[in-house]
């Protein structure tokens, strides 16, 4: 506890001393260092505006304001506070491995590496989907049929009035023929 108070004293002295020199014209004899004694042997209240002979007096005056710990924190409590982050973090207990790409992910989510592939292809198809010229009156008013490079032309009844998107690259192996979910 005392070394904390000493540190405050040193910091304050470095910042406050120059100010004292400026307006503290008359420096009172520095009172004895015993902190507790100071409080009991206090001189009668001076009428003149408060000027602090030294930093020590200033701290004594304001010490009522500082919060002070009531009890001594024990060693184990201090150590736990500083180094117990291992205990604060709970181990994840709902991890599963993805059956296709054996990547570990939480049980209530999808596997992100699988989704990355899907995401890439989806954004390509989206880019194609968005390429239409609204000013010429083209609208997104027809279903979309995705045709990859090297695939035969889709039969009429599948396409029937759909908008065919030509993709540059091959159909990836994991993306089976789109079965229309009805």
């Amino acid at each position: 506890m005392n070394e904390a108070r000493e540190r405050i004293l040193i910091n304050l002295r470095q910042s406050v001393d120059p100010i004292l020199r400026i307006f503290g014209h008359r420096s009172l004899p520095p009172p004895s260092l015993g902190f507790a004694l100071d409080v009991s042997g206090s001189q009668p209240v001076q009428k003149s505006p408060i000027t602090y002979g030294s930093v020590r007096e200033m701290i004594d005056d304001f010490s009522i304001v500082f919060g002070v710990p009531k009890y001594r924190t024990s060693k184990p409590k201090k150590v736990t506070r500083k180094f117990s982050f291992t205990r604060l973090l709970q181990p994840l207990d709902n991890l599963v491995t993805c059956p296709t790409c054996s990547n570990i992910h939480p049980s209530d989510t999808i596997c992100d590496s699988c989704y990355a592939k899907v995401h890439k292809l989806t954004s390509e198809i989206k880019k194609k989907m968005m390429q239409y010229n609204p000013y010429v009156g083209e609208k997104q008013d027809k279903e979309v049929y995705v045709k990859f490079k090297g695939e035969p032309k889709a039969p009429a009844e599948v396409v029937n009035g759909k908008r065919v998107l030509e993709m540059e690259d091959e159909r990836p192996t994991w993306f089976k023929k789109l079965t229309l979910k009805k």
Binding site: T100, D108, T109, I110, V118, T122, D141, E143, W174, F175
Partner: protein, 193 residues
Amino acid sequence: MSAHRVAASLPRIGVTIGHVPQKLKTGGIEPSRRARLEVLRRIVTRTVREERVELKWNRAVEARPYVERLIQLGVERGPLDEYTAEMMEWWLLEKDLITKMHEVIVPRFQNNASPFTSLFRLPPQRLQQFIQNKREVWKRYDIGVLEIHGNPFPPVQEESSEQSDSILDILLADALRNHQMDLQERLNSEKSK
């Protein structure tokens, strides 16, 4: 004396709806119920435009019932209904999406019941937000993938194989069958007593 057509009530929404509406905030609008509706409006518009979107997880959860309800209005009452037209006009910011809704999305679900959309959750992503005088600021995102069924994109998740061949599963099934037989005997003996 005109007799206005009676609007039949809509079926149940087959999607989980949070007990308490979330307070969604966005820049520019002072956070209020109005701001929440504006955020949802933008999300619904984007979902209808792209049919599969990635959003913040809590926003995806909040917006999903609204997309479902819009599709339900289109399916149950059709484009001519006054209430449906008003809602579509307000909820879809880009007006050409109203034609897309009535021509493309609603015909898909003519004889399907409510869950028209699916919602998947991605594992939490840790993305670098920005670098502030040599200190990288990372942010943790919970991302949800909201999609309308029948879209042309590759499926997010294949149908999981039914039969899991883990040993525990086989043992568990066997133990359960034995326990079931014991219970059956106990019940029969009780009845006979």
